[in-house]
Structure formats: C-alpha cells, structure tokens
Symmetry: C2
C-alpha cells in the first residue's frame, strides 16, 4: 500500500462461524479494516491500533477525495510515532459497530433482515478476538505494539493480558480497567435517551427514521464528559450566539449550539443500536475479573507460569491527561500498577492539558513524542 | 398555625396583573405557599425559605395523612435551626413551577387552556418579585433572614441584593452567582431530552400522555450531578441487581436501577415544561449583571448610596459542600467574596461530606448547627 496515495477501508469476510463470549454464534462475520505500511517477511513488525466508542477503521491518511484524514492521522504515517516506514499498522472497526464490521445494523443472513436487538451482546474480548482473526488472515505472527485510547485502551489491555506471547508492548491512553458507578451512570443515561425515543421502536427502525433525538442527546451527554470544565469555560463561557433569544428554548448560549451540532452530526454517521451495544461492552468490561474468570493468561499451549514469565520481557506505556475527568489519571495509575505487578516494565506519563478526555484525539504532539520514544526503546 | 398538627399548602390569588422581567404580563397569578409559626405584631420576625429546581412550598411538617414531611423539615420547626417558636417561616412555590403557583401547566384565563409555551419566560428575579407580593399580603415588613440551597440560593442572593433594606441576613447554600458553560451544558442536555420526545409536541401535551421518557432522562442527568462520584461508588460500585442480565439493555447495575427509579418517580410529580422554564431561569441567572442592568440596588425611594450603607449592617452565611461538583466550593467562595465586597459581614463554611450537591437536603445536622449559630448571632 502506498502511504502517500488515498487509502481505502477493506473488508474481510470470515468463512467460519464466530463464537462470542456470550456463547452465541455469528455466521458471515465481516471485518472492516485498514492497513498501512508493509508487513515484514517474518510477520513481526505489526502494530494494532484500537479505536474508541465512536471511532472506525479509518485511523490515518485520506480516503479518495476526502478533506479530512483518519482519526489518528497525526500519530500514524511515514516518520510519525507509529512509523509506517517501519511498522505494518492495522486498525479495524469493532464488532457491534456500524462502520463495516458486523453489528446490529448488519443483515442477519438467516433472515435477510437487520439484526436489531437479536444481535448478540458483545464484549471487549469479543472485539479483540475478531481482531485476532483479522491479524491471522493478514499473516501477522506477532505484534510489535497494541495501542489505543479510551475504549481503545480497554481492547489494548484485554489483548495484551489475554495473549502474553503475542504482543511485545502496549500503549494505553486515557482509559480504565473498569467503569465506576458514575461512569456507568453517564452511559446508562445515554442508553435511556435512545430507548425513550419512540422511533427506537425496540431496536427495529432500519428502513425508517432512526431515533435521532435520543441518539443526539446521548452524544451530547458524552461530549460534556469528553471536555474539561475549564476548556468549556474558556471556549464558550456564557457567550451567546445568534439573534434567536426571543424563541423560547432554542439554543442561545454558544455551548448549547456546540452540543447541538455535536448531537446532530453524530446521528448522520452512527447507529443507535451500536451505541447501546458498545457502551454496554464498555460498562461490562472488568479487566481483572475477565482474566481470572477464564483462567487466563492464554498460554497458547504453554503453561500459565510460562505466560507470567513472558510478561517480564514486555513493556507498557500508560498515558493520562491531567484534565480528563471521564477517565482521570488515578485510573491510569491503577493500570500502570496492575501491569507492573504482572512484571511488565511500565512507564506512566501524565500530559498537562486543558483538553480533557478528548486530548487523546487532539494532543497528538505530546503523545507522538511519548509513543515515539517508547517504541524506540523496545528491544530489537 | 399549630406547628404540631398537619399543615396545608395555601393559595393566594393576586388580584392585579403581574408584570415579568420580560415585559409580559400575567393575569390571575396564584401563589402556593406554606407558613409556620406566628408573625410578630411589627411584622419583623419572618424568614423566607427558597426552594430548589424540583422543590415546592411544602418545606416542613406533615400534610394530612402524609408519611413524609416537607423537604427541609429537619431544619424548620420548634427549637430547630429555623425556630418556628421565634420566626414566622414562609416558603412558596416559584413562578413557572408546577406545584400550585402559576406556571406553563396552568390555565391561561384568556383562553381557558393551559399556557404551554405561550407562558412567558421567567427569571430568578421574577420568582423573588412574586414572593414580595406574597410577603406584603402576609403583612411581613422585613425579613429576619432569606435562605435557600441550589436555585434557592440564587433567589436568596437576588432578593438580598435587590432589596438591601428588606432582609437582615441571608443564608446561601451550595449555589452560584452564575452558571459556567458546563453547568449550562448539563441543563441544556436535559432540555433537549424533553424536547426530543415526540410526546412533548411543542409543549402541547396537557390532557395527553406527557413526555415522560424525555423528562425522566433529564432527571437522570441531574441526579448524576447531584451525587458525588465517591458516594455513587460506595453506594453502588459495580454491584448488580435482579436476575435480568439476559434481557438486553434493561438496567442491570444497581446504579442503573437507582437512576431509573429517580427518573420514573420524578415524572409523576413534575411538569416537563416547568423543567424547561426553570432550568432556563437558572442558566440565565447572572447576579452581578442583573444588579447592574437595572440600576439596583433598589433603594425603595432612598438614594443608592444609602442602599450601600444598608449592606454594612447585614450579615450573610455562605455554605458549600466539599464533594459538591455541581456547585463546587469555589463558586460559594466567590459568593462570599462578592457580598463581603458590598460590606456585608459574611461567614463562609465548608461542610466535609461525601453526599455531593444533595447534601443541602441530607446533611441537615451540620447545616442546622451553622444556621442556628448564625441566626443567634444576628443583632436584635
């Protein structure tokens, strides 16, 4: 793939049934992905990028004719932190999503109709298992690094902990090992907003008007938690916009216009049922309990003790943002302590910023420096 | 009134048209209020209690046959902080509300139909002006104290600043002089949730099913901001409830059940349009700008300089809660500084509690001590 030309999201059709953690089985699973750079002959120079709640496989470069690049473009490319001259960089849309990988809006081959709520519940581990299928298909033998922010960090940790022989290192940014009650509460209100919209109709709205009102409210709630209070205050304060003060309950404050825009534009690109499935996967994620429940670490045939030994050759980078109140630095420090306890050589960095949780998408310069140095420090 | 027997909400019908800050006029204004204790012959022992967003006139004692007392009962009564053996304590429902005082769900006498969105916009100052009518009717010549928490604190400050000759003192708890962008944002998402519910129908839902889904989502958002993160974690953590894990997207975590209950029970007692009007009054409240805009302080015929002098004989108590992240202590300290700057003798107290913003309703023991001592310190 020529990293200077336009890129395209690819589709892998998985020929075998895919079994989820719930015990359910999916037929005809498709995986949407992008890959940049060249895989080495020995298949050991791959980097897996994990996207967040509303992300997709388009992590970097430009689609044909597009004016905006992928969501982590400043981090991925020739000479960038995830250097496509050195690494084979892969990113795929999560299962349960709505950007090419099978999810609730996909057609159920058994019925010819969209799954809706008949789609099985998905977990962060299911997301990782789907990526394992993709990587095997691409010929990846091991990962140089697995990396992601927010929900991407959860997948990163799950993969790294589940497969101690598979990834040399991880980069986990602005994430948590498990949601607190307040974090669950914010997601739950978003879900209720979607389900309270009559157009949601029990998840059967495909071919009709989707529950746009509910989904945009859910997105607005999310956006409040993505920005720091200070950034909101500096960006919007109590400034007003437009001349419509006389129209009752139309947006008047600038912050209202901002949230309104975020909600409306999200509805155009995201499926409401996917929002339910993915936020539930996030709320149900509990790294420590998930590892112990299934007798991980998966030793790929080797003994568990050997798996623990494997961890001691690994490195991890945990990054938090000072003003992130959705996943505050305390939760990232917990991640660092946990993997240190497993014997991984973990570096922890806190980036001073006012950009809140969103900083994992915006503060790419500071992250590039940290990630670049981290990857350079890995043993050959 | 016998403070030991059951109390009843009274209704005052205002015979004259009431002019609002918007310039609109309301005919047939009614004010729902309760009063406890006896007014002194000189009318100078009254205390005005101001309620918060979802409060009402029923501040203390029991209604006939009720199992729960008024919302601030531990603070008001014989021998309590607001001692009804000494003070004539008055509390009224705000204009724009839905608990007896005229609001959007009231019948417009001109049409015989509920106002809905034809109800004029209300402000915190309008709420205070309505209370002034009530107090005049009751024969109150001056207030010993005006007191309230949250939005009640906003009314408290507005009245105290607008009428420097009228109130001897104020108690302002867990409040702010103006909303930040984030505080506006939380309210705006609640309003959007209501308006996104098709049953809202542009505010015309009276006699039909109200927008219960939207209103309950708005209330759920509010409740997240009323509790501290720590309290939520200790109360709910990641505990699950019930056996319905298999039913997709039904509440499963205890915190989800809690929010669900709060949303559903709120819908039974509150009007969605009132929620829009009152939260907008809160967002638009800006004490300093409201005072300067209309050339306050109102001197009641006296010169402005005299009004400033009047402040120097006054006392104020500002209370904040350490874990209140909706109206954090920093905003209460700003209130204390502002009134100190006007010459008022202000005491500031921070109560250490995990109960978040809700502490103004729950931590009544600590508040009683502060308020009791404060009132005892007032010059005779």
């Amino acid at each position: 793939m020529n990293p200077q030309g336009p890129v395209k999201t690819q589709i892998l059709k998985v020929p075998r049934p895919f079994r989820l953690e719930s015990g359910d089985t999916l037929e005809g699973l498709t995986i949407a992905y992008e890959a940049y750079g060249e895989l080495s002959p020995s298949g050991d120079n791959a980097v897996l990028i994990e996207h967040a709640l509303s992300g997709d496989a388009h992590a970097a470069f430009y689609h044909e004719g597009a004016r905006k690049p992928g969501w982590w473009d400043p981090m991925i490319g020739p000479g960038k932190a995830f250097d496509t001259n050195r690494y084979f960089v892969v990113c795929s849309n999560v299962i349960g999503g709505c950007s090419g990988t099978t999810g609730p809006s996909s057609l159920n081959p058994a019925t010819g109709r969209p799954y809706g709520l008949t789609f099985p519940p998905v977990t962060i581990r299911d997301m990782v298992e789907v990526q394992r299928l993709l990587l095997a298909h691409l010929g990846v033998k091991r990962l140089r690094c697995v990396a992601g922010g927010s929900m991407g960090g959860m997948q990163t940790m799950q993969l790294f902990a589940d497969y101690p022989f598979f990834a040399d290192s991880f980069v986990c940014i602005a994430s948590t090992m498990r949601h607190s009650a307040q974090q669950i509460a914010f997601n739950e209100v978003g879900r209720r907003a979607i389900m309270a919209d009559p157009r949601w109709n029990g998840g059967n709205y495909y071919g009709d008007v989707p529950p746009e009102g509910g989904l945009s409210v859910a997105r607005m709630i999310g956006h409040i938690t993505y920005l720091s209070e200070r950034m909101m205050q500096e960006k919007f304060g109590r400034a007003r916009k437009g001349k419509d003060h006389t129209v009752v309950f139309r947006p008047s404050f600038e912050v209202e216009h901002y949230l309104d825009y975020q909600g409306v534009s999200f509805v155009r690109r995201f499926d409401a049922n996917s929002y339910l499935y993915i936020t539930s996967a996030i709320d149900n994620f509990d790294l420590v309990s998930s590892i112990s429940q299934v007798g991980r670490f998966r030793g790929e045939g080797r003994a568990r003790g050997t798996a623990r030994d494997a961890m001691k050759a690994k490195k991890g980078l945990v990054v938090a943002f000072t003003s992130d109140w959705l996943y505050p630095p305390s939760q990232s420090r917990e991640i660092a302590r946990f993997f240190s306890g497993l014997g991984v050589a973990v570096s922890y960095a806190e980036i001073a910023t006012d950009h809140g949780h969103d900083a994992f998408l915006t503060d790419t310069e500071a992250q590039s420096r940290l990630v670049g140095n981290f990857l350079a420090s890995l043993p050959a």
